[in-house]
Amino acid sequence: MIAGIDLGTTNSLIGVMDSGFPVLLAGENGSRLTPSVVHFPEGDAPPLVGASALRMRALDPARTVSSVKRYIGRRFGELDAAERSAPFAVERARDGGILIGPRRLSPEQVSAILLGKLRSDAECTLGIEMRRAVITVPAYFNDARRQATKEAGRLAGFDVERILNEPTAAALAHGLDRGGERRRVAVFDLGGGTFDISILELHDGVFQVVSTNGDTRLGGDDIDAALVSFLHSEWSVPHDDALLLARIREAAIGAKHRLSDSQDTVLRLPFASGTSREMALDRAVLENLARPILARARPCCLRALSDAGLAAGEIDDLLLVGGATRMPMVREFARDLFGVDPLTDSNPDESVALGAVLQGGILSGQVTNALLLDVTPLSLGIETFGGLMNVLIPRNTTIPVKAGELFTNAVSGQSAMQIHVLQGERELARDNWALGRFDLPFVPAPKGGARVGVQFEIDADGILRVLARDTATGLEKVVEMKSAVDVSDEAVERMISESVEHAFEDVEARRFAETRQKSADLLGAVRTALTKADALLEPGERDRIEVLAARVGAALAAEDAPALAAANLALDESTRDLAARLLDQAMETALKRRGIL
């Protein structure tokens, strides 16, 4: 029996195949969703996991770890300021990794505690031992984060049979009962902490992923944070009150959930001092806060479509996955992008776990009418002359896959060559994720005489294995890669901390410089528009705009930062209609030029 596990940022689920059907198991408090929260009590009492830990989050935020998935498989050096200043401790491990929570555990260890809880609850329900598991990860997870998730599974005592991509799992759960017709499906997966978009072709039980894209740092958590920060300034509460902050967060999450079903809600926060705060919040306010966050999903979706060689209208089905897709604005956003109404007959919280269970069924031979052909989300390559990335396996290649590369010595008698393995889409090697380095030994030979073949393999888990092959003996050997943490991590970290310090020093000065730059841009654009687009102006519009432009000029002269920002905003707003008319005119001119109008 192979368990299927959705290890989520916010909630986790576990299930098994039962008489040919995937079934999700309820945890100790009767819910199939186990909150991905671990609370560490004082002393060395065993941690609380799930709903009981979630209850502790507002009471004891420093000892309660949530959203651990944001940290798994990452280096301390790449965390941003918000990720470093979580309610619980986030520290740099000696090897450049991350340690979190009051007991300073690695994210793998904390994830293992979550997985252990799922496992023991399932064993309790079924009365049998669970040793094997399929665990899901965001499709856009890189090699390091997949390996770390696999390691968490091992630490929890599982044989991890497969690391499965979440959107693919959801498609599997949804598509099994759909017969033989060929369909193109877009899976839009916005979870608590990660966003994935996958485009699949379903045909005769084969679920073939055509393209995938995403952002592993975009999710409902970000909307929570925006709402918390909004409430924070509305209520002008002190910044250093961690407990109050934690309670505002719980209230904000509750309000966000309620606003998916109703247009308005009331946020109540009883203060310890006996007074309490109340605020009416309507959906429009939440949507304004969420809009810029959601906008970050757009480029991912357009790129996935482009990589699949498809236009929006060519998608047959749109499947929404992840709790954040309950927000009406998210549903509309996805519908507008893909030009098709989202399917409504699946539970966005459960489809990933059901898919993981089904994949377990495929691996154990219980399910024979479905097969997943997944892809690698990121290009794999090596650093080549001039610090460029040489792609060996392009993104969206079906896995498992192998690519061979032959290396020769560049100078006579060269004893080894260092190979730098990278993952990512950028042209310059240093802009990509460094998977690791290894030294390839050469036998002594004149220039070009020593040849070693290296085989890069991405397995069905999306994890890389490197094999070196001696062309003389034909022997293959797995290459141990040195993690890239050692050197580059510190450089990255130094860079980030410098820029953070820098930001704190002269944040006022920088903001004013930016505002001034914006004024200059705006005034330039206004001047050009007023001369060029005279015919487009409505009666009185020129005067209105000129008055506002003069106000910007005055604030500039007075070096009054707040007044300048306000004047910019007013001028920007007042010229939006004109901007829209200019766009229409440009469109018309273009159509005329092509003889369409």
């Binding site: 084969v206 810029p292 480029p299 896959v401 061979g404 073949g453 705006l522 901007a579 440009a586």
Partner: protein, 197 residues
């Protein structure tokens, strides 16, 4: 590394033209038994099958594999830009630079009005890009015709045709690269919103 050629791996005759859908369908069928998720499946054999499918559905890789099989040169040989391509080569470079420059300026414009003032230029530049893509598509049709022609004569004239394969493969490769570069830049341009952040 000595591996079976992609044609025989997927059970197709080694020839210049193959129908992409047919190749994919064969790959899917074989996956159903050889994928490592299946009992009796095999990751190594599947990976080879996978690579063969990629090779046979891409004219560049297919023609290069066929050239190799027919003993007509390798993929790594240095050859000049194919005849009739030099002009396209210059155009592609020029257009890429113009698109990059425009994208930079549009990103830098910090107001809706500033971006709207660039709209005329954007329409013109995207039109030139589309016209160029049409030109490339026309060139691609020519190559496809040359490919079918070679395919039709393959049985009888293969010794004469084989030496021409590497050059034909290069032509397909250049076209694919330019189409990719221009499309990528057009995509980047559409990713900039009309109103600045």
């Amino acid at each position: 590394m000595s591996e079976q050629d992609p044609f025989s791996l997927l059970g197709f005759p080694a020839r210049p033209a193959l129908d992409t859908d047919t190749v994919r369908e064969r790959f899917r069928q074989l996956s159903d038994t050889l994928h490592p998720d299946r009992a009796g499946g095999d990751a190594t054999r599947f990976a080879a099958l996978n690579a063969a499918c990629s090779a046979l559905t891409d004219p560049v890789a297919r023609l290069r594999a066929l050239a190799l099989l027919s003993g007509a040169g390798t993929a790594n040989a240095k050859r000049p830009v194919p005849p009739g391509f030099a002009d396209l080569f210059l155009q592609a470079g020029d257009l890429s630079r113009r698109l990059d420059d425009f994208t930079r300026r549009k990103t830098a414009a910090s107001s809706a009005l500033g971006r709207a003032l660039l709209a005329d230029e954007e329409m013109e530049i995207t039109e030139s890009a589309r016209e160029f893509l049409d030109q490339l598509a026309a060139k691609r049709s020519e190559l496809d015709a040359a490919l079918s022609h070679a395919d039709a004569r393959w049985e009888t004239d293969r010794t004469e045709l084989a030496p021409q394969l590497p050059e034909l493969a290069d032509a397909f490769a250049y076209l694919a690269r330019w189409v990719g570069e221009i499309q990528e830049r057009l995509l980047c341009l559409t990713l900039i919103p009309d109103s600045a952040p």
